[in-house]
């Protein structure tokens, strides 16, 4: 087991090295945009070309590619992600400021997903091939099919049009002022967890339904597999009540693979909830990457992509370790 963890960790570093190199090279394919943008506001030099040269030197893009790469890797080795081209803030600090909203949204979204998925998945499995099962499966396929931004727009539209004046629109739509409540937006604001959670209710509900559909489908197939096992038949034969058989014997075992899926989903939701964060203007990680890509802010893009990759690969590793721990039949070699 120790050997397995060690090997996986080393391989993860290989993957992270590849990610860092890829994003570095991708951004250097065509640096003309950022240089043009920087050169436009310059007043110190006479010609435009001189302005370009100054901007290039300022951004460190005048050095040969291998020198830039060397500096980048050396800084990375010291956990220095550089400073933003625009705000001059340390990238790592910016990411920390934006992780809060993303984590809150991600956790709430997974909770909503579980509240939806657990009962529906179980009922759909123990009542297999009845009309109830068909109905629930159709709902889950429909939720999988409806893109999250479409659902969000329908929810906003519906609550504002047909439930105006109640608490629904206020809770489920975009809030005009709420961005200021997050840290990093206006300096000096406290990070009010409760207030923020209220603000992410809308996106969490909308996103949670789609995520819930994924979990529900997986849970259903796992339950069906477990319900056919001998130990479940034994439990029935002992004359246990249905609730005990389903919850304590079947569900407990069916949940193990489901938990790993939930872990993976949580990792990707926290790091890449781009559409929801954009739509509800939540200053989280996903929103941050997109806006910095559009601004050609190279250090921020490199840093954020790398932090996201670190999160994903190590969440994957943790999930695999947890799987082995929860299910002792799994042996890693």
């Amino acid at each position: 087991m120790q050997q397995y963890i060690l090997r996986r960790t080393l391989l993860n570093f290989v993957v992270l090295f590849l990610v860092a190199t890829m994003v570095f090279l991708a951004l250097r394919v065509d640096p003309s945009n950022i240089i043009r943008e920087r050169a436009q506001g310059c007043t110190t030099a006479e010609t435009y070309d001189a302005c370009r040269e100054i901007a290039k030197a300022e951004l460190g893009l005048d050095k040969p590619l291998w020198r830039q790469y060397g500096t980048y890797m050396a800084d990375l080795a010291q956990l220095d992600l550089g400073k933003s081209f625009f705000t001059k803030n340390a990238v790592l600090q910016d990411i920390k400021d934006r992780a809060g909203p993303s984590i809150e949204l991600g956790l709430l979204q997974i909770m909503v997903a579980l509240v939806v998925a657990l009962p529906i998945g179980i009922i759909s499995a123990i009542r297999q091939d009845t009309w109830l099962d068909y109905l629930l499966r159709f709902v889950s396929i429909a939720l999988l099919g409806i893109p999250v931004f479409v659902l969000a727009i329908f929810v906003m539209l519906g609550t504002t049009k047909y439930a105006g004046g109640t608490f629904l629109p206020e809770w489920l739509s975009v809030h005009g002022t709420w961005v200021n409540l997050f840290p990093g937006q206006t300096p000096g604001n406290d990070h009010n967890v409760i207030e923020n959670l209220k603000r992410v209710t809308g996106p969490a509900l909308v996103g949670g339904l789609g995520t819930g559909a994924i979990i529900m489908r997986f849970l259903r197939s796992q339950m069906l597999e477990v319900l056919r096992q001998d130990y479940v038949r034994t439990a029935w034969a002992k004359g246990l009540r249905e609730r005990v058989v389903v919850v304590r014997h079947a569900l407990k075992n069916a949940l193990i693979p489901v938990l790993t899926v939930i872990g993976l989903l949580l990792g990707s939701i926290v790091s890449g909830n781009v559409v929801l964060e954009y739509l509800y203007t939540i200053p989280g990680i996903g929103f941050f990457i997109i806006s910095s890509i559009l601004q050609f802010d190279y250090p921020v893009v490199q840093g954020t992509v790398l932090v996201v990759a670190v999160t994903l690969v190590f969440v994957n590793l943790l999930v695999d370790i947890a799987y082995g721990w929860l299910d002792p039949r799994i042996r890693y070699s």
Binding site: V23, F149, G272, I290, L294, V305
Partner: protein, 315 residues
Amino acid sequence: MALPHRPTALQNVLKFIRRKPLGAIGFLIIGFMVLMTVGTPQLKFGIPSLPDRPLGVELGKPWIARYDAEAKFFTAENRLSQYEGPSASHWLGTEKAGRDIWARLVYGARRSLFIGIWALAVATFVGTAIGVVSGYFRGWVDTAVQRVMDALQSFPPLVALILIITINPLTSSPNLTVAAFALGLVGIPSVQRITRGVVLATREQQYVEAARVIGATDLRTMVYYILPNITASIIVVFSTGLGVVILAEAALAFVIPQNVPQGPSWGLMLNEGRGAMFDHSGPTVWSATFIALAVLGFNLAGDALRDVLDPRLRL
């Protein structure tokens, strides 16, 4: 001696509808979408481009749309007929710039479908090739390839897409072909992973061993023995992937409307309509409905196809 009755094509279709009603609904939606995109064909062969000339075939005006997507309409007082409700001449009404919503939806369907097919063609071709090779050789080839795929998958998909589209050095303005290729590139790792898994199981089959025994080269074994036997899985991956790609294209146009090619597009329509959503919900609701329907259709069809062609495939 009477031979056992062989089911005709029609009987097979009927059986599919009876067995998989949801899948049949999916195929119905896809059929409708294809119908929306077909026009009066004018065969002109040239450089492949999108979306009006897939593979160089000029598609002409879709026969189901009455107007051109960009045609603007005016009221009797010669004012732009903005946000008109549904009427006999404009079935779904008009949008902000006085253009017919139905016409824009029809042309948008063409864009979604062709971007989807092109992207999936790229992803399936490259992904399958890499997957077959890494699954067949295993060992260090596989380990190296898997690490690269891991690295590619550590980018959130939409982030990778936006990155590729934004840094695109090939064309000065947003281009549909570039968008399609970007979508395909992002899809490669998922296709590769599934194909590799299937190949790992297939290569242990006896007929593969037999091929090796009679002295078939590695290339011959992969192309003539393994590839034909994983076709079912590839078809399923393709049909399920189309829904994902269409969704990704719409999401892309929705999130970065300024950086994707302009023109009639479902995602762009959704974004344009959002500003006036609460007063004039027409454009928003219709584009949202069509995106959702298309994705739903491909999901349902892909699910049913998987059950029929390759029930053990885990997606």
